[in-house]
Subunit: 194 residues, 2 copies
DNA sequence: ACCTCACATGTACTTAGGGACATGTACCTT
DNA sequence: AAGGTACATGTCCCTAAGTACATGTGAGGT
């Protein structure tokens, strides 16, 4: 009897493990999890509520989680089981990391040569602004954590590490967008800088 | 008659535009495009050949591309049409950027508190090594470009910008993984650093 | 009493993504 | 002449993701 819930062979499927990980902190409903995904994991791992409810059913069927309590408006809180805890730990330590990135901003940059100079500069300014703002939000979270606003539990220490990643990535992208604005658009003659 | 090929409303679907962008540089076959995705766009936008061939059919049906030539082993090279060029330009300037990231390494970091200290340190060392190596590869490409190995066309200038993004992102992730190793695992008593 | 909003869960449908499978050809080496 | 490798294109099928739609409840304000 194989209780592993990775599709067929040993591949990733991280939403599933994201849910397990969040439930490892304590019981929560689909609604709670959808909000936590949106608020905290959203920037690095998007998930919509239909997918979350569907995954919760699957995890429940697989015995990884079970209903912990029924609340007010049909609310169903799930609790992680020992099997679920073992699975998230197995995933974290044994399953190899999928390093695939998927960054539309960078994909677009391959095709900047197709854009008018003015449009491109405007685009890069908007990008820089967006990334800088997002980095600032991350720094705000980091500062709040360092002030102790979220307590000092192990979970929030991990959260601090994740926030640091968001901060560094968005800052890197903001700096990149700024730098890109200084790259001259094209060399008119054989004579340019460099 | 609506020639726009975004699914229903005005949303992203970037593989399609990635193909259009590559074809804007000149005719290429599905096989060529699959390799270029793998080699160049792979790190920021993965695509497998079945998806590419399927998209080429759709783009062809939509009049965005057309068969340019037939080659040796059933090879079919496609050429971008004026409509296709207009579409990629429209996408670049009018369509708003999807800033969704999807970084499993960072998702995992939310759950580091579930890992044994030794496993976590080993994991972070591997992550640091991977990101540092990938950043080094990007730097190598950047240096080759700056030496003029790829010529000085507008396309390669855009490529240089994209490479710079890869370099900065991977370096940020490498630095992050290194930094994370210095974060003390847990506070045993109420007395720690911070 | 009514209204509105946040809470709460789900179904249905469509597209995107990715692995496995299938097929065949030109070229190059031995 | 045979065999291997890179070239080249595709189908099939299942899973993941994402949008729209549908439904209902409890709490708080007016």
């Amino acid at each position: 009897m194989d209780v592993r819930i990775t599709s067929e062979d040993g591949e990733a499927v991280s939403l599933r493990h994201g849910l397990l990980g969040l439930l490892a902190e304590g019981p929560a409903s689909g609604y709670d999890l959808a909000r936590r995904f949106e608020e905290h994991l959203g920037p690095v791992w998007p998930a919509q509520h239909p997918k979350i409810y569907a995954e919760l059913s699957r995890l429940s069927d697989a015995g990884m989680i079970e209903v912990d309590s029924h609340g007010p408006r049909g609310r169903k809180a799930y609790r992680i089981t020992d099997a679920g805890l073992a699975e998230i730990r197995r995933w974290l330590t044994e399953e190899k990391v999928d390093h695939t990135l998927r960054i539309e901003s960078v994909l677009r940059s391959f095709f900047f040569w197709l854009m008018e100079t003015d449009d491109l500069q405007a685009h890069l300014r908007r990008e820089q602004e967006f990334f800088a703002e997002t980095a600032a939000v991350a720094r705000g979270y980091a500062a709040a954590k360092d002030r102790g606003d979220f307590g000092t539990s192990e979970q929030t220490r991990s959260m601090r590490v994740a926030i640091e990643a968001a901060n560094r990535i968005y800052q890197a992208l903001a700096d990149w967008a700024e730098w890109a604005q200084t790259v001259p658009p094209a060399v008119p003659a054989g004579d340019g800088e460099d």
